[in-house]
Amino acid sequence: MPDSAPRPNADPAFPFAWPAEGLTRIPDWVYTSPEVYEREVERIFHGPTWNFVALEAELPEPGSFRRSFVGPTPVVAARDAAGAIHVFENRCAHRGAELCRLQGGKATEFICPYHQWTYDLAGNLTAVPFRRGLKNQGGMPKDFQLEDHGLKKLEVATRRGVVFASFDPSVPSLEDYLGAAMLRDFDATFDGRKLKLLGYYRNTVPANWKMYHENLKDPYHATLLHAFLVSFGLMVAGNKSAMVVDPSGRHGTMASAKPPEMPKLDQETKTQMRAYSDELRLAEPRFLDYVREFDSPWSVTMQTIWPNFIVQRELNTLGVRQIVPRGPDEFLMVWTMFGYEGDSDEMTRHRLRQGNLMGPSGFLGIEDNEAMRFVQQGVTRSDTDASLVALGGTEEGTSDHLITEAAIRSLYRHYRDVMGL
């Protein structure tokens, strides 16, 4: 239930009012309300946004397909005989069954197991059993046209081997949607080399899906929550870093540059970072080495592309993360880890070793997931009804230091506009 007072003349079916303090507060109901979640699916995931669905490396040949999601909605991405990629709803046009059950593979057509309605690789309906009935009895009406009953098709855009889809034909081009600053960081990772799949992680997090974006727009947490980064010299509060926000406020890149050596910390920094310890030493620190391979001043970029996509370039361990919301209080994360074709065996193993930082057993990944779980519990169970986002005052947009929540405020300015809040 909303826990702020309804606005006068507010829609009684949607009686939510943002706290009077503005963007320095986030009301709990953005994380807990089924009505708000429903509107997010309609206006954001099914609205004019580009959603990640697959990597082209997962669709290598004609007939390759991959089960995926746009928001909570199951879709299939498939490559047709001519090489074009199509994305369509994973829902039979007949009785609604989710017809594609395999995670991926190769197919020449898709046949619903219930009544064997058959679709081609573009989602067009090609056959309906007993369409004309049997012995002049039954069958579909005479005016039934196969072409009127294909699977629901989405808009598709690809860039540098990454496949996006949108339910809304009015969506701007992917390039306009991302903007120049975001394209720069995106293209630094997807730099033209062909991707080589290394494997998948999947996990649920019992928290609202937006918290994942917030966490990656919150550079403040990195040196405080992640003792590993601090203990082993990967990141400290004084490192060169930036939190880049696109002009719309919805996308962002958290970036930092690893110092060549463990920096000497002054006493004030050490005291502020309780996680810091002078005694801990790794037996195999080489797994944190950064092999320079990207046209970027940053050794780490975590890019959030609204609404369902994260590009992870953490030193040399690379991955994309897809957010699949499952209601206001849970989301699924699908991690696809990759390297590049042409990587030496040693480089592949370096990426795999460094992968220990990320994912649901990663030294950093564990902590992010646990922290989000704690926040969801707090905002759900407490009597208090809003959280505080006042670091850096009311500033918004890009910043070149870590101690700010400006990017979170930028996101919620965009969000409120889209959501009518």
Binding site: G199, R202, F228, E284, L332, R353, S361
Partner: protein
């Protein structure tokens, strides 16, 4: 099945019971002692294992990385307190090389209990193991923990 094969299977079952006891007791710093210097330890989903994809949720090459994992989990990682309980069953000896290296498998179930929560099944899976003998005692040269439960609930904190 020969008597010596049966004896080896019993020895591996005892090894796995001790291994589970150390982890169930939360003694993660004692866990590296079950491995050889050059050991490989990996936890990965069955979809990766079956497709030959090399990624690991946990991917350790050598005892140093195994010790670092134990150090990070016990000293630097933030997570809610919990109990874990392993059940290791269906131990099988698959082959013994002329050099004495043993291939073995066992199924595992891992139960997790958090404060204020009911016990859940964290994951079920299978150990794919290579054992060698050092000073008469079995040690793991490779343990690939391959889980069927493809969706991890929030986080898998401790080694499996």
């Amino acid at each position: 099945m020969s008597a010596s094969h049966r004896e080896l299977r019993l020895e591996i079952a005892e090894f796995n019971a001790e291994y589970a006891a150390v982890l169930d007791a939360g003694r993660v710093q004692d866990w590296p002692a079950f491995f050889t210097e050059d050991a490989v330890y990996r936890i990965t989903g069955r979809e990766n294992f079956d497709a030959g994809l090399p990624v690991g949720l946990v991917y350790c090459e050598g005892i140093g990385m195994i010790r670092d994992r134990a150090l990070a989990i016990s000293r630097t990682t933030m997570f809610a307190p919990r109990y874990l309980l392993h059940q290791v069953t269906n131990d099988r000896v698959l082959a013994v090389d002329p050099g004495g290296e043993i291939s073995a498998e066992a199924n595992y179930a891992l139960f997790e209990t958090l404060v204020d929560e009911k016990t859940t099944l964290q994951q079920v899976g299978r150990y794919h193991d290579r054992f060698v003998r050092e000073h008469g005692r079995l040690k793991l040269k490779a343990r690939h923990c391959v889980y069927d439960s493809l969706i991890i609930d929030t986080a898998l904190i401790y080694p499996v």
